[in-house]
């Protein structure tokens, strides 16, 4: 058993592409090995800013010859079939094939031997193919070459069983090929010259000496532990940020966390501004005071160097850069507060939202109208407040700060509103109106916030729908799915009784929302077929009511009564459907209540009585939104129905009136149950 070590050294790979690149390399090489019949025990992939590395253990050093038999067409088959067989088997003529009698006639057989041989001979092709197929999100050419890679490729280690594989990658043009070898380079600044390795263990050890930590998980651990230790020493707490940690680990081969200080003059700028500036511009981790969790005046920067002055120059430089960045931010904060939100509104007329949907000012007008309408349905929300919050909700888009940090939209609007001494509920509604921005984002709960957040999303959804920009497949450029999910979450999580149809012009918009609802509810164990069954009744546009009904139906179906009744429903519906198919006019004749006088057997009489009793209970229960009550009423049908199907023949041949009346009875069962949910959509 032997080990394959592959390393692809290049110029700096974007952090966001490293993990995926390593995994793709592993997958592609492993697929290649499997296709070549090479089994192995373990494959592991790693990435640093400059290299992808792959180690595969437990490979055989040689493969046996493999003989495969392939059955061809019958002897004497048409020429076309024979040619197809020869081509597929890689034979040049039938003379290379064998004739065999299989007992069912004589057939042609091809016996093909796949040449085995040393694994080392198969590997270069597999590596080259994997590199060609590797799907970088963005790749480039360099020099005079024609090859695409994420950044210029510099060297390749391809070692199998301790020996360099024969092979090279040619970038094309007039560029020298990159040969397979056994050397690499260490850290860009902390290591000199080439490193020669003999295998994976040696590779890891020598990289470590050359200040390269190969494993991203290890780099993340060092960053986190180092940062926490620094924070401990300063009596503060590190603000966890997994996304940033992942990125920073992709920017360094040898992480060295350091602690810097935010200049005191910036500490009265809103903390969100400081955090965004540090995070997006500088990739610094923010820290919190231990006393109250507020933003502390320290930050953690992760350097990629062990400086000979212990990092003093690096910290000083980073603090200077941050000072310049935050001066800009503070300038915007001071400037922006000299203008009222109301005074910013005219500028929204110059900001196009979408060519067919007008400017942000037009959008605000639409949101105001929607907010006014929605406020009536949200307990605790007043119309005047809702309109004012909607009126001002986009004003911060033309502030200096949001121009610089678009991700602070809403957040800044809230601060500016508070500075103007607008009521806190209005300020919060401005701040919350983009939420929830995703499945894990916080959902607004305050009445005015709910109103404006709903108005914003309903406007997005209905406006783009109106101009025909509906999402298709993977394309959803205006994030309408996210808007729909936001609407669903706000309504459901706050129990808002909003008749959506009043806001939807298009019929298919409700169906779109129902689809999103299914996706959203799947995670909570709600069955998609039950949603269909309830939604299939038509006319329901109150999501809270819809879900209450769904929940009741789903719990009912989980009981024995529910399961049996569903079976009985299926039988009744099948019989009626089968008969309706034979006789097109039947449907009209079996509508309505069965004739009591024609009920012959006690079992059908019992069903008719049970149906009448159920109907009496179901209708008021539905009206009172007591769906559990409606289900209990239906449960009473189960035993009489079971008895009916046991004892009564529906399609009596010689008594047409009797047959018709019994079909009426079955139809009535269907109708009664369908008034609760369309049970035909329930998957058994």
């Amino acid at each position: 058993m032997a080990e394959l070590l592959l390393e692809l050294l290049s110029e700096e790979i974007p952090a966001r592409m490293q993990a995926r690149g390593a995994e793709d390399l592993k997958r592609l090489v492993c697929d290649g090995l499997k296709a070549a019949g090479l089994v192995f025990s373990e494959a592991r992939a790693f990435a640093t800013p400059r290299r992808l590395a792959l180690v595969i253990e437990g490979l055989p050093t040689a493969r046996e010859d493999v003989t495969e038999e392939r059955r061809g067409p019958r002897v004497g088959a048409p020429e076309q079939a024979v040619q197809g067989f020869l081509k597929a088997a890689g034979l040049s003529s039938l003379e290379q094939a064998e004739k065999r009698d299989t007992g069912k006639g004589a057939f042609w057989f091809a016996v093909v031997t796949k040449k085995g041989g040393p694994t080392a001979e198969a590997l270069p092709g597999i590596i080259e193919a994997a590199m060609k197929a590797l799907p970088w999100p963005k790749s480039m050419k360099w020099g005079s070459g024609t090859m695409n890679w994420v950044r210029p490729l510099q060297s390749i280690i391809a070692l199998f069983d301790g020996k360099v594989l024969a092979g090279e990658i040619a970038p094309g043009g007039r560029m020298a090929p990159v040969p397979f070898g056994d050397t690499t380079r260490g850290h860009r600044f902390l290591s000199q010259g080439e490193i020669r390795v003999s295998g994976f263990a040696d590779y890891c050890a020598k990289l470590e000496t050359a200040h390269v930590m190969l494993d991203p998980a290890e780099r993340k651990r060092i960053i986190l532990e180092g940062a926490e230790k620094l924070c401990d020493g300063a009596q503060i707490a590190l603000k966890a940020d997994e996304g940033l940690l992942e990125e920073v680990a992709g920017l360094v081969e040898w992480p060295v966390p350091m602690l810097g200080t935010i200049d005191a003059q910036f500490m009265d700028v809103p903390p969100e501004v400081l955090v965004v500036s540090m995070r997006t511009h500088q990739r610094y981790f923010a820290t919190a005071r231990r006393s109250d969790g507020g933003l502390a005046n320290r930050f953690v920067v992760v350097a990629n160097n062990v400086a000979r002055d212990g990092g003093a120059t690096i910290v000083d430089g980073n603090e200077r850069v941050l000072r310049a960045r935050l001066s800009d931010a503070k300038f915007f904060w001071d400037q922006d507060r000299t203008v009222l939100l109301e005074e910013r509104l005219p500028a929204l007329k110059d900001v196009v939202f979408h060519a067919k949907l007008g400017t942000q000012a037009d959008r605000v007008t639409r949101i105001e109208i929607l907010a006014d309408k929605i406020a009536a349905f949200v307990p605790g929300a007043d119309s005047a407040g809702a309109i004012l919050a909607a009126h001002l909700c986009k004003a911060d888009l033309v502030s200096g700060m949001v121009g610089e940090f678009p991700e602070l939209q809403g957040v800044m609007g809230r601060y500016y509103a508070l500075e103007e001494k607008l009521p806190p509920a209005i300020a919060d509604a401005i701040g919350d109106h983009y939420a929830p921005a995703g499945p894990n984002d916080r959902c607004p709960t305050a009445p005015l916030s709910i109103v404006v957040a709903l108005a914003d999303k309903l406007d997005t959804l209905t406006s783009f729908w109106r101009i025909g920009e509906k999402p298709t497949g993977s394309r959803d450029p205006f994030a309408l799915r996210r808007a729909a999910l936001g609407i669903i979450r706000i309504i459901v999580e706050n129990g808002i009784r909003l008749p959506l149809r009043q806001f939807f012009e298009a019929d298919d918009l409700m169906a779109f929302l129902a689809e999103r609802l299914k996706v959203q509810m799947r995670g909570r164990g709600v069955r998609h077929d039950v949603v269909d069954a309830v939604f299939g009744l038509g006319g329901e546009d109150d999501l809270v009511r819809l879900l209450a009904r769904v929940e009741a139906v789903q719990s009912f179906l989980a009981t024995e009564d529910g399961r049996n009744l569903l079976t009985a429903y299926g039988r009744a519906a099948n019989i009626v459907r089968a008969e309706e198919k034979k006789d097109k006019a039947l449907a009209g004749r079996i509508a309505g209540v069965p004739d009591v006088a024609l009920l012959e057997q006690v079992e059908e009489k019992n069903v008719a009585d049970a149906l009448a009793a159920a109907s009496r209970l179901v209708r008021p229960a539905l009206q009172g939104e007591d769906y559990a009550g409606a289900m209990t009423a239906l449960a009473g049908l189960r035993r009489p129905l079971d008895a009916l199907f046991d004892k009564v023949t529906v399609n009596v041949v010689d008594k047409p009136d009797l047959r018709l009346n019994r079909l009426k009875l079955l139809n009535e069962i269907r109708a009664t149950m369908d008034s609760v949910a369309d049970f035909s959509r329930i998957e058994g």
């Binding site: 005079s144 070459g145 160097n305 400086a307 430089g317 980073n318």
Partner: protein, 331 residues
């Protein structure tokens, strides 16, 4: 070509080639700088020129027209296209009318300098060469933290894009590094490595100044020591006023239309170089109109597309001249 070109000293030329071989085998460059560490703005420029000249670059002069960035210089935009190798470096005054702040913002200028090196085709050791330039200007990599952070570049008006990084020194962006993939909507034959230093920002970092206007322009021990502010503050104040308040917009609209028309005419006559100058002119008119706030959001895109169409046509016409034999062109 009446004047004999001044050739580099033969011995230097050979030495330079040998240096390259040495560099290619080393991880970092600690080549002794030909000049001492710069102490002022003009020495920074001289040091970079000297360094890149020793890397085999032509040292060109700024293009004598208003442009938004060094990339617009024909030495980059046009030379990046076609099959001919090209190494050049130059300073380019860059004008961004909307960035004017009347001399009141310490970091923003409507007129600033870029130093640009373009190496086509990009050599395998281009990053090492770049790092050598940092050593030359006095950035010691045993003290600082240099990082290559993903930053893809795109110029909508030039129809150009490339992949690369912004280079950070202790968290500050000191260089844009781009491998050109497309220019004028045309895929490049040979990939250029483009290295752009924002000189003022870099100088502020090197000389530890909080405002650009305090930068020493020449040496402190000069007969007449002057700061960047001594040289350019008044210019920033007056030009900001011009850009934001006084530029005659009707005239600029007219100039834009004239330049656009002239450019198209020159392209038709297969004169890509004068045509491209009209394209640059149109682009600058657009930038001024933008600063005057007279171009609406919707129109903005259409103006950018109009400039891009010009740039594209010029690039195509230029490329044709690079492919066709000279004799045919003369005819």
């Amino acid at each position: 070509m009446g004047v004999a070109p001044i050739l580099p000293h033969r011995k230097n030329g050979l030495k330079s080639r040998k240096d390259k071989a040495f560099r290619a085998s080393g991880n970092t460059v600690s080549e002794p700088s030909a000049r001492p560490k710069p102490t002022c703005f003009q020495e920074l420029i001289l040091t970079l020129q000297d360094y890149w000249a020793r890397q085999g670059c032509l040292i060109l002069q700024p293009y004598d027209m208003e442009m938004g960035a060094g990339t617009f210089h024909t030495a980059t935009t046009l030379r990046a296209l076609g099959p001919k190798p090209w190494y050049a470096a130059y300073v380019q005054p860059s004008r961004r009318p909307t960035d004017g702040r009347y001399g009141e913002n310490p970091n923003r200028l409507q007129h600033y300098y870029q130093f640009q090196a373009i190496l086509k085709p990009s050599p395998p050791d281009i990053l090492e060469r770049y790092l050598g330039s940092l050593q030359a200007i006095g950035i010691d990599t045993t003290l600082h933290d240099i990082r290559f952070v993903e930053d893809d570049w795109e110029s909508p008006t030039l129809g150009a894009w490339g992949l690369g990084w912004e280079v950070w020194c202790d968290g500050m962006e000191i260089t844009q590094f781009t491998y050109f993939q497309q220019v004028g909507g045309i895929e490049v034959d040979l990939v250029s490595g483009e290295i752009t230093y924002g000189l003022e920002r870099l100088a502020m970092y090197l000389f530890d100044k909080k405002t650009v206007y305090e930068l020493p322009f020449n040496r402190a021990d000069s007969d007449v020591p002057l700061t960047y502010g001594d040289v350019f503050l008044q210019n920033e104040q007056e030009q900001s006023a011009y850009n934001f308040k006084h530029a005659d917009t009707q005239m600029l609209f007219r100039h834009f239309a004239d330049a656009e028309k002239e450019c198209a005419g020159l392209v038709a006559k297969r004169l890509p170089l004068p045509a491209y100058e009209q394209c640059i002119k149109a682009s600058h008119c657009f930038n001024l109109l933008d600063a005057r706030g007279v171009i609406g959001v919707a129109e903005r895109q259409s103006y950018i597309l109009r400039v891009r169409d010009l740039a594209k046509a010029c690039c195509e016409a230029w490329l044709a001249t690079q492919m066709a034999p000279a004799a045919e062109r003369a005819a």
